[in-house]
Each structure stands twice: as C-alpha cells, then as structure tokens.
C-alpha cells in the first residue's frame, strides 16, 4: 500500500467523525490540509456534510408537533444512572417491542396460529393403537404361592378375562402361565 493509499484510507476513516466534530485538533488540522491538497476529497467532504445536514433537517421537520425538549428530557431520563425496577424495564421493553416490531410480532403470532392449525389438522382422527379386531393376551404370569395360577379366558365377544385361581383343579382349569418374572409363557386360553 502506497503513502497515497494510506492517506486516503485515513481520510475515509476520519470523515464521519470530522463532520460530527468528534476528532482531535490534530486530526481536524490533518483533514483540512488533506482536503485542501485533494479537490476530490474536498468534494466528498462537502457532499457528506450536505447529506448529514439534510438528515438532521428531515428529523426535525418530520413531526413539527413533536415536543423536542420533552423528548430530550425523556431520553435523558432513560439514560439515568438510577437502577429501574424489573416492571419498569419490562414496560419499556414491551412498548419498544410493540413500537418497533409490530409487523414481526404479528407475523410470529400468525405463524404460531398456523402451526397450531396444522398440528390440529394432522392429529390422528382415531385412537392410535386400537387396530386389532380381538384383544389378544400374549403373556401372563403371576407371583405368589405355588398353588395360585393365573387363568386367562377369552369371550365370544372378543374381550379377555384374567384372574388368579387360588385352588387350581388341573382337570377342569387351564393355567395360563407360570410363576415369577422372566418365566412368562404364552397363555393357554379357554373360552367362557
């Protein structure tokens, strides 16, 4: 990078701060000398100052009814170093959000409503898991005295009944499973 490029870069960097009066005396003098030696930079500076002035004017004339002194006091009050309560901070954040992001909030609410509608629309219309025609017992077991055995029966209607036979009679009853965890067996069913 040449010395000329360095100077142009420095000028571009200082331009905005110079117009706002935020540069040191030394930097201001450098800008003035540079623009005196470079007419194109001088024109750039003038254009920048003109635009800045127009923006300021636009802000002042946008709402002539605006009470600028009160506005300024409000801004200064907000910049107060006194800590605000949580409720005050929430109120300020809420009003700012409503003022600045109204469209965004409306879009978000519309999106949430659309999502809920889709979720409602895609929900299953019939209970899941009830696809079988007959209720089927797959395994049954029981903990307890060795004389107790689970009995499983299925009805003609397709229901099923399970109960403990406290006094099994091997000839007439059909034990459905065996005792204890890990020793399950498919039940031998009988019809009532």
């Amino acid at each position: 990078m040449t010395s000329h490029d360095d100077s142009r870069a420095k000028f571009a960097e200082l331009l905005s701060a110079y117009v706002d009066g935020e540069v040191s005396v030394h930097e201001a003098r450098w800008v003035e000398q540079y623009t005196a030696q470079h007419p194109d930079s001088r024109r750039a500076l003038e254009r920048f100052e003109a635009v800045r002035a127009r923006i300021g004017e636009h802000l002042r004339t946008e709402d002539p009814s605006m009470d600028w002194p009160a506005f300024t006091r409000g801004v200064l009050a907000r910049l107060s170093s006194e800590p605000r309560s949580l409720i005050d901070r929430l109120k300020i954040a809420g009003s700012k959000l409503l003022a600045d992001r109204r469209t965004l909030l409306a879009t978000a609410f519309a999106g949430a409503a659309a999502a809920l509608a889709i979720a409602f629309w895609v929900r299953p219309t019939e209970p899941r898991g009830y696809g079988a025609a007959r209720l089927e017992i797959q395994t049954v077991s029981a903990d307890g005295p060795s004389r107790s055995q689970p009995i499983v029966v299925s009805t003609e209607r397709g229901d099923a009944v399970i109960w403990m036979d406290q006094d099994p009679q091997p000839e007439s009853q059909t034990p459905a499973g065996t005792k204890g965890e890990g020793n399950r067996q498919p039940p031998r069913e009988k019809r009532l």
Binding site: T103, L104, T107, A108, A110, G111, A112, A114, A115, L116, I118, A119, R123, P127, R128, G129, Y130, G131, A132, A133, R134, L135, E136, I137, Q138, T139, V140, S141, A142, D143, G144, S148, P150, V152, V153, T155, R157, G158, D159, A160, V161, I162, W163, M164, E181, R184, P187, L192
Partner: protein
C-alpha cells in the same frame, strides 16, 4: 431476524412437542366392585356381567372409579382402593396395534389392544367382594 425466519421458528416451536413425543395410547381404567351379595348391576356393566357370568355370576357390580390413562414407554401407576398399585406401560405400537404391559399384583400380562374390546383383570379382594380392573378403549370425544 427476518420475517420468514420468525415464521419458521414459530412453526418449529409449536410443532416440536408433537414431533418429540414418542408413541402414546389412551386407555380407560375402570375400577369395579363385584359382589355375590344381592344388589344392583350398573347398567353400563352388563357386558362385564356377561363376560364373567360363567366364572362368577356376580349379583352386584358397582363402578367405583374411572381413570383416563395415557400410556407411554414410562410406567403409569394407579393406586387401587384395596391398597394395591397397578402399573401400565406401552411396550410398542406396530401397524396401529398397541402392545401393553399391565401389572396388577400378583398378575402381570402383556396384551394387544383392540377396538371396543375390554380386558378384565381381577385385582384382589375389596370389602365383601372382589375388585376388578377393566381396561378399555376410551369413549370417543
């Protein structure tokens, strides 16, 4: 943040719970007190009386309580009036047929749900009769 990103985020937030949920199945658990003492049969329990008639022809069937259970892979416990604790777990859902593990001490069973069908499980003694647990499809909303 652009508008369409907010829209997508809202959609994601609204749908995430539904998508994150594992399979769930609703079951109605009805607690019945059955007794041989002369009494009344709850009209809604006529099918139960019929189902049990050849085992024990109960003369009194009273509906004690009804619980709507939402079964998932985590066990759902149900305190019974006779002090026992029943436990139900959804084992799987395949081809719209749910497999449920029901534990009503001392009994334990794995069964497949069926539309409009009931599983009657004897849940022990209750007062002067028996306590029965009926697992059925919940009524349509």
């Amino acid at each position: 943040m652009t508008t369409h990103r907010v829209l997508l985020l809202s959609l994601g937030i609204a749908l995430a719970p539904a998508l994150a949920k594992g399979p769930q199945v609703q079951v109605q658990a009805i607690l019945i007190h059955a007794s041989m003492a002369q009494g009344a049969i709850d009209p809604s329990l006529a099918s139960m009386r019929e189902a049990l008639s050849k085992k024990t022809p109960y003369k009194t069937l009273t509906r004690l309580d009804v619980h709507a259970l939402e079964l998932s892979s985590s066990p759902v416990r149900l305190n019974l009036p006779n002090g026992k604790v029943a436990e139900f777990t959804l084992v799987s859902v395949k081809d719209n047929i749910a497999q449920v593990h029901a534990k009503v001490p001392p009994l334990e069973a794995i069964y497949m749900l069926a539309r409009a069908r009931s599983l009657y499980i004897e849940a022990g003694k209750q007062d002067d009769g028996d306590l029965w647990l009926v697992l059925a499809e919940p009524p349509s909303p």
